[in-house]
């Protein structure tokens, strides 16, 4: 299964709509990095509104994606993390400290623009 990556001007938009299994997560990591490389995008918004579980593996993949994209010059914002998911991540001891977050896609785009302008 592949997660679609949309391009909008300089940004890439991803909305994850499925229960992520490990393989799909890793495939997504690869696809996103390739897409950043091809498109020269400077910002990425990954919307997680429909994701109802993030375990330590998926969290690691997401954290890695953020760091890797950063290395390639694209800033990532994670949006729409559900309260239940956030509470679970905190219990797991995963804080995703380096990751920028926003309430929803719209806020995410605003944050990206602010951070890229600075």
């Amino acid at each position: 299964m592949r997660i679609p990556i949309l391009k909008l001007h300089n940004y890439l938009l991803i909305s994850i709509q499925i229960d992520l299994d490990d393989q799909t997560a890793i495939q997504f990591q690869e696809d996103l990095l390739n897409k950043i490389h091809q498109s020269g995008a400077t910002g990425v918004v990954i919307d997680l509104t429909s994701v109802d579980i993030i375990d330590s593996f998926i969290a690691k993949v997401l954290g890695d994606v953020v760091t890797m994209s950063d290395l390639m010059g694209a800033k990532v914002v994670l949006t729409g993390i559900q309260p239940a998911v956030a509470v679970t991540l905190i219990d797991l001891g995963i804080h995703l400290n380096e990751v920028t977050t926003a309430l929803d896609l719209e806020q995410g785009l605003i944050k990206l623009r602010q951070e890229l302008e600075e």
């Binding site: 729409g80 993390i81 956030a86």
Partner: protein
């Protein structure tokens, strides 16, 4: 023979009622509650003793007793009114029986028999009462929980959560979940958690607050911790708690100003003269801090 004892009691109910009422009136002096009118008290006593007799006579618990108990509970009278009343009844009955001439029953038997007559009534009363207590306690728990973590959407994108009272693990979980749901519901970019009303901030409480703030960050909002009193600042530092990751402010007012800045909003005063004074004070305030 057991029947005889009971019959004697029932036959002499008038005298017994009289004795009981006198004793109760005596007792009442000790626990006088001025809010209860004399009439109400006397009527209730009369009804009470009749119900006791009813139960003793039928040797079973009547529904009258249930409805009477319920009414007394609703009146808010203490359980001791009922138990004292019944204990008095026991005493009056025992004294009466022992002094009764025609009777040659040994005293221990009298005691036991009266116990057997009255104790079921006491048990039933206590059950009714504790049932209603449990009910009240669980209702209060729900009410307390609702009070426990209110969220106030002050304006677009800014929400305040004032915390009042002691925070334990159970409540901390509730606060966290309520906070996160509220942030989503009100689309709050900034939440101010006001701990002015939290009496003690120990490592446990601080830990819970930090976790809540981190969860808020994960869902894409920002927490500002406000209402940090001097003694709380001291304990936080003495305990080695690291709050440096979150913005903190001493007062809700200062926190609110920060929240406005963060959301690119500001409050414009229509009266310009006052505004300049405000600004002057604020700038003095700020230069003092830095």
């Amino acid at each position: 023979m057991a029947k005889n004892l009971k019959e004697i009691l029932v036959d002499n109910s008038n005298g017994l009622v009289h004795m009981w009422l006198e004793e109760v009136a005596e007792k009442q002096k000790e626990v006088t509650n001025s809010a209860i009118s004399q009439d109400l008290f006397e009527n209730t006593n009369r009804e009470f003793v009749n119900i006791i007799f009813g139960s003793v006579e039928k040797e079973s618990l009547t529904s009258d007793l249930d409805s009477f108990t319920e009414r007394v509970i609703n009146l808010g009278w203490p359980l001791s009114y009922l138990t004292d009343g019944l204990q008095l009844f026991k005493r009056v009955a025992i004294e009466f029986l022992i002094e009764h001439e025609e009777l040659d029953v040994p005293v221990p038997k009298v005691l036991r028999h009266v116990d057997e007559l009255v104790n079921p009534i006491i048990n039933q009363l206590v059950n009714e009462y504790s049932g209603s207590w449990e009910n009240t306690v669980s209702l209060q728990r729900v009410a307390l929980q609702e009070l426990s973590a209110p969220l106030i959407p002050v304006m677009d994108n800014i929400t305040v959560m004032p915390l009042i009272g002691t925070i334990d693990t159970e409540r901390a979980k509730f606060i966290m979940e309520n906070l996160l749901d509220g942030v989503i519901k009100h689309h709050a970019e900034v939440v101010l958690i006001d701990i002015t009303g939290v009496p003690v901030v120990d490592t446990m409480v601080a830990h819970h607050i930090i976790q809540a703030a981190e969860a808020v960050r994960l869902i894409g909002s920002t927490c500002i911790l406000v209402g940090i009193r001097p003694e709380i600042a001291q304990t936080i530092v003495n305990l080695g708690i690291d709050l440096s990751k979150f913005p903190t402010k001493s007062s809700l007012r200062k926190g609110f100003t920060t929240a406005l800045e963060m959301t690119n909003q500001m409050i414009v005063q229509t009266n310009s003269e006052e505004q300049t004074i405000e600004e002057l004070i604020d700038s003095l305030d700020r230069s003092k801090q830095s």
